[in-house]
C-alpha cells in the first residue's frame, strides 16, 4: 500500500468526486439507495452543501445553506466545474430519520443526529444506551460505505467514462441552475 500521506494527497479528488456523484445519484436514481431490507430507505440532500472549484490557479469555495431555491446556486457552481467537498444529508429508514454531514476529504461524518435511542435514566442503563447509540450511528456509516463501494467500483471501471460521466453531464444540462 502507498504511504498514507502520499495517497491522501495524490487521491484527494476521490472524496469530492464521490460526493458529487452522490448528489447526482440521490436526484437522478433515488432507487439506488433504497436497497435496505428493513424498510423504506431514502437519502436526500439536506440543508447545506460546500463546493470547491480548483480548476484555476486558486481555489474558489462556495457554501450554500438553505432551501431548494438556493441549491440552484450550488448547481450553477457545479456547472462551472466545481465539485462537492461537504454535504448535509437526510436519511430516512422506515419511520426513523438521521441527519448528518459528510466531508469529502476523509468521509468523516459530522453533526450526526440519530433517532432517539434507549433513555438513560440510571447508571445501570449506561451499557444499553451505548450499544443502542452505537447501532444507530452505524446505519448512516453503512449506507455511506455501501454507496462509496458502488462509486469506487464504477470509478475504476470503463463504465465511469463510458456511462457515468455522460449521464452526469446530461443531468447537469437538464437541471436548472
Amino acid at each position: 500500500m502507498l504511504d498514507v500521506s502520499v495517497s491522501y494527497s495524490r487521491y484527494r479528488f476521490l472524496g469530492p468526486e464521490f460526493l458529487t456523484y452522490l448528489w447526482y445519484l440521490t436526484e437522478s436514481d433515488p432507487d439506488a439507495v433504497t436497497t435496505a431490507s428493513d424498510g423504506k430507505v431514502s437519502l436526500a440532500l439536506g440543508r447545506s452543501i460546500v463546493l470547491e472549484n480548483r480548476r484555476r490557479d486558486d481555489v474558489e469555495r462556495v457554501t450554500i445553506k438553505g432551501d431548494e431555491a438556493q441549491m440552484d446556486e450550488a448547481m450553477l457552481a457545479l456547472k462551472k466545474g466545481a465539485v462537492v467537498t461537504q454535504m448535509h444529508l437526510n436519511l430516512e429508514i422506515g419511520e426513523m430519520t438521521w441527519s448528518f454531514s459528510v466531508r469529502g476529504e476523509d468521509l468523516a461524518v459530522t453533526g450526526l443526529k440519530t433517532p432517539p435511542g434507549a433513555p438513560l435514566e440510571s447508571p445501570d442503563e449506561l451499557e444499553a444506551a451505548i450499544l443502542d447509540k452505537a447501532a444507530l450511528c452505524e446505519k448512516p456509516l453503512e449506507l455511506v460505505d455501501g454507496l462509496f463501494q458502488r462509486f469506487i467500483r464504477l470509478r475504476v471501471s470503463d463504465a465511469w467514462h463510458g456511462e457515468v460521466i455522460p449521464a452526469m453531464r446530461r443531468w447537469l444540462d437538464k437541471t436548472p441552475g
Binding site: M1, Y11, E105, T114, L120, F148, R153, V156, L172
Partner: protein, 204 residues
C-alpha cells in the same frame, strides 16, 4: 461530540495488525500503562493518556471496564496549558523593567529578551491549570474498526501515536483512497486501475 451527544462526529480507522494474545489483557495493560497522569503544578505544557469513559477524571481501568458488548469504549484525554498572549506580554514587560532597573541599563540584548520570555513562560506554566479535553474512542474489536469522535487534526495525531505505543498495532486512517484500497473489496485488477486514476471532469 461524543457517542451519547445529541450531535456526533465520527472519523474512522482500521487497526493494522493483530493485538497480541490474550487480547483483553493486552488492551487492559496498554490502557493502564498509558493512562492519563495529572499535570497540575510544574507539569509539562501538555499531557496525553487514556481514561475510562465512565470516569475520565479518575483514570482507573481496574475499577471501570471498557468492554461493552463487542466494543471497547474509552477516552483519549489531552490536557494542555495555554498561556494567554496578553498575560505573557504583561509579565515580560514587568520582568524586563525590573532587570533594567536592577542593572541600570537602558535596554536588554536580544538573547536576554529571549531568556526573560522563557523564564516568564516557565513561571506562568507552573501557576496555570491545564485545560482537559476528552475524545472518545470506540473500538469494534471484531471488525478491527475504530471510531474516533473528533476530526481535529491535533487530537487525531495524538490518538494515532498513543494507540500504536499502547497496543503495538498501527491505526490506518480511513479516507477515500484507503477505503477503496482496504475496505471496498476491489480485486487486483481494480486496485491496479485505482492507482492510475486522475481527477474526472464533470463538465466539458
Amino acid at each position: 461530540m461524543g457517542l451519547l451527544s445529541a450531535s456526533v462526529t465520527i472519523a474512522r480507522y482500521l487497526v493494522d495488525g493483530k493485538v497480541k494474545d490474550p487480547f483483553f489483557e493486552t488492551v487492559q495493560g496498554g490502557l493502564t500503562q498509558h493512562s492519563f497522569r495529572e499535570t497540575e503544578g510544574g507539569g509539562p505544557e501538555k499531557a496525553v493518556g487514556w481514561t475510562p469513559f465512565q470516569a475520565p477524571f479518575v483514570p482507573d481501568f481496574e475499577a471501570h471496564s471498557c468492554v461493552i458488548g463487542s466494543h471497547l469504549l474509552f477516552c483519549l484525554r489531552i490536557d494542555k496549558k495555554t498561556l494567554p498572549p496578553k498575560v505573557v506580554k504583561k509579565h515580560v514587560a514587568l520582568e524586563t523593567a525590573k532587570r533594567l532597573r536592577e542593572s541600570g541599563r537602558d535596554y536588554l540584548a536580544r538573547e536576554e529578551k529571549r531568556m526573560v520570555r522563557e523564564a516568564v513562560e516557565s513561571a506562568l506554566l507552573v501557576r496555570i491549570p491545564a485545560i482537559p479535553n476528552l475524545y472518545e474512542v470506540l473500538w469494534h474489536y471484531d471488525s478491527g474498526v475504530v471510531w474516533f469522535f473528533s476530526t481535529q487534526s491535533a487530537a487525531r495525531e495524538e490518538l494515532e501515536t498513543l494507540f500504536s505505543r499502547s497496543f503495538q498495532v498501527r491505526l490506518i486512517s480511513l479516507f477515500p483512497f484507503t477505503m477503496a484500497d482496504l475496505t471496498s473489496g476491489l480485486g487486483p485488477r481494480e486496485k491496479d486501475a485505482l492507482m492510475t486514476l486522475r481527477p474526472a471532469l464533470f463538465v466539458e
